[in-house]
Amino acid sequence: MQSFLLLTLILLSVGGYYLGRNRAFAVAGGQIRHLHSLPSFYGSYTALWCGLPALIVFAVWAMLQPSVIIDLVVAGMPPELRNLPPDQLNLAINDLKNLVSGNIVSSTPDAAMLDAANRYRNLQLIGNASLWVVILTLAIASAAYAWRAISPTLRARNRVEQVVNLLLILSSTVAIFTTLGIVLSVLFESILFFRKVPITEFLFGTHWSPQTALRADQVGSSGAFGSVPLFAGTLLISGIAMVVAVPIGLMAALFLSEYATPKFRAFAKPALEILAGIPTVVYGFFAALTVAPLIREIGAAIGLHVASESALAAGLVMGIMIIPFVSSLSDDVINAVPQSMRDGSYALGATKSETITRVLLPAALPGIVGSILLAVSRAIGETMIVVMAAGLSANLTANPLEAVTTVTVQIVTLLTGDQEFDSPKTLAAFALGLMLFVVTLILNIIALHVVRKYREQYE
């Protein structure tokens, strides 16, 4: 229905384009050089006039219509319904909407509700019909206005380009709005959370058990929100991942940039980067079904008790995932070290490995540290591997053979499933998200800063 209206609007605009272009030809008497702009700009000018105002009105209308109709319907309800407390009124409105769309309703509708539903349907019909009329009238009227305004002196190109320029600027602000949206949404819910749970308890508490009570006398509903075990778990798993990824990634980068023949490099570099392209859910599956049982069996064979969701399994697989990040970032950094430094070292009689460890690595160290920081922030924010392979219970331990949980795992478990949105349980997820966002942001800023400083040093 509404998409049909949009389609009509597009067709009208296309028509407006041709009308405008033809009009430009006509007013110029077939002599294009009399026109200020090319005829196609006059066409675009008419099309924009036809489409844009109507589109804006359409967007505003579509946003307002549902709430206006609800208000009207509620105003027309019998007083005993209208004066219900807000939450019950909301329930009634929900029922009403279900009734209108023909879904199953929670209770058998009474006469008042049926009446309201009918009025709702009527209003909707009236609203949609008037939307059509208003939009089409507006589109045609403004197109006609633009069409009449076309004259050889009309600066159509400048007008059209102004609009396009505005659109470009609007697009470029999407990134800012996204960041703003992230910060505001996470911050807003976190503030609600910190009203219920003191921020000191959240930051320094060592007990995490977000099961809040539905009833006062319920067992096992401690509702403790100390996030330390989560961050400890995150650090443990990321630490294991870095222990795997940094040596392998760094050595691989060194080998590829210093030792490998161009042929081998051309094969090995993309092959290694396949690891970066594999979806994380695949790593999670691999960790949970292959690596974790394997580690468990090995542990049993040498007499160790390994939890089936050990931090080791998740960390190892996450490390594999991060190898290409470390290797390709370090590769860039190592390649940025000027050749003259290598040549100087060789001239003093140093072997290749001595050159690497005593000249190249110290020179590239800031950049390598930066790339490792980026990899750490990646590891901290990684979700699927830990959701599938790490545990759910928050243990405060440094033993990699035990099950730990992470920030991201808790966000996922707190927010999937049915619960009220304003319970501390769901709000806690946003507080965790805020922490995650802040920590990764700081890591990224430091890393980017370090890498940039380092690049400047050799440029």
């Binding site: 990634g249 994380t280 599956f285 490995s353 991201t408 949105f421 966002f437 990764t440």
Partner: protein, 438 residues
Amino acid sequence: MNKPTPAAVPAAFSRDIKTIVNAGLQRRHAAERRFRSYGLIAISLGLLFVVLMFANIIGKGYPAFWQTYVQVPISFDPAVIDPQGTRDPVAIESADYAALVRAGMRRMFPTVEGRTELRALYALVSSDATYELQRRIHQNPALIGSSQEIWLLASATVDTLVKGNIDRALDETERPIKDNQIGWVDKLQAAGKIEKQFNTILFSSGDSREPEQAGIRGALMGSFYTLLITFLLSFPIGVATAVYLEEFAPKNRWTDLIEVNINNLAAVPSIVFGLLGLAVFINFFDLPRSAPLVGGLVLSLMTLPVIIIAGRAALTSVPPSIREAALGMGASKLQMVGHHVLPLAMPGMLTGAIIGMARALGESAPLLMIGMVAFIVDVPKGIMDPATVLPVQIYLWSDLPERAFVERTSAAIMVLLAFMVLMNGLAIILRKRFERRW
């Protein structure tokens, strides 16, 4: 302190150095070889992981592309299907087809008796067999009254057994299939009444609680709609942003802010975008949960930085002489960009967009937040229908205990990886074909 004078020692000194250097040379060369081999080991480990992972998943997943069927003699008894003899389609629809399947199974093993035994026998075929018969009668009512040998879908446990994934040596209580069932399956196999056929169900049906009836079509369509929204939103906005920042934007605080924002967004954990989607799109704008529309919105915000960064790189690679020539011919700045720079930069932008799309295809964490994890049987028909996507389907299946689901999960992963390879391959071809060195 009596320093040796330079003139007095050169011969002895240089001999000394030589011996010192020579003495250390072997050790240093050994260290060199060691270091080199560390590098080689690191590379080989990395490559080994790639191979291992693919081998593991393909090894687990490829049997899922075949599915076991049992040939059962079915007689379409009019007394069961259409007792009144009216041939009324509604009555025929609701007939007791399960009874036909049961009768067919009994016909194959007439000696089986007793409730538990019979129930075990009936459990050899999937519950889908009933619907299969219903479909056949619906398509061709003339079948009523005839008797036919029909290949019916076997149950998941039979499938697992036939594929050799159940250890027959285990005690009966420890495996999902009983001794008598194994006996029947062996008999059927010996008689050639069990066959593995290409698994079309995997590609034609939605999710199901029964492994043998579960397919990825719902998830594939969900992924398609989600990616469609993602592309439609992120590509135009991304290109427009790249063009603005590269060609039009003045260098000032504001554009600096935009650039910093874009770089930071590229490194924000994906799950945070999920939180944004939940708080803004679902709670604030009241869009439906689990809908590909919301998934696409969230993923497009995630993909945007990738497209913008790739787009800017593509724009900078267009030489300034092109711009100057266009401006010199009297083109406006917008015409210069629209007619010359953008078409030349388009292959690079598309390559970046495809890589961004491939990443969006594999993304699942933010979609968990906006409710695309529900168990959804129906194949979505539009961007507002509840849906799930391929990676999330993999996540959902990987949680299920049945061996047959492990197989199907791996198969779904293979399909996902195939799409990734396809998209990345397309990007590489595009780059190779249209890359220009100026």
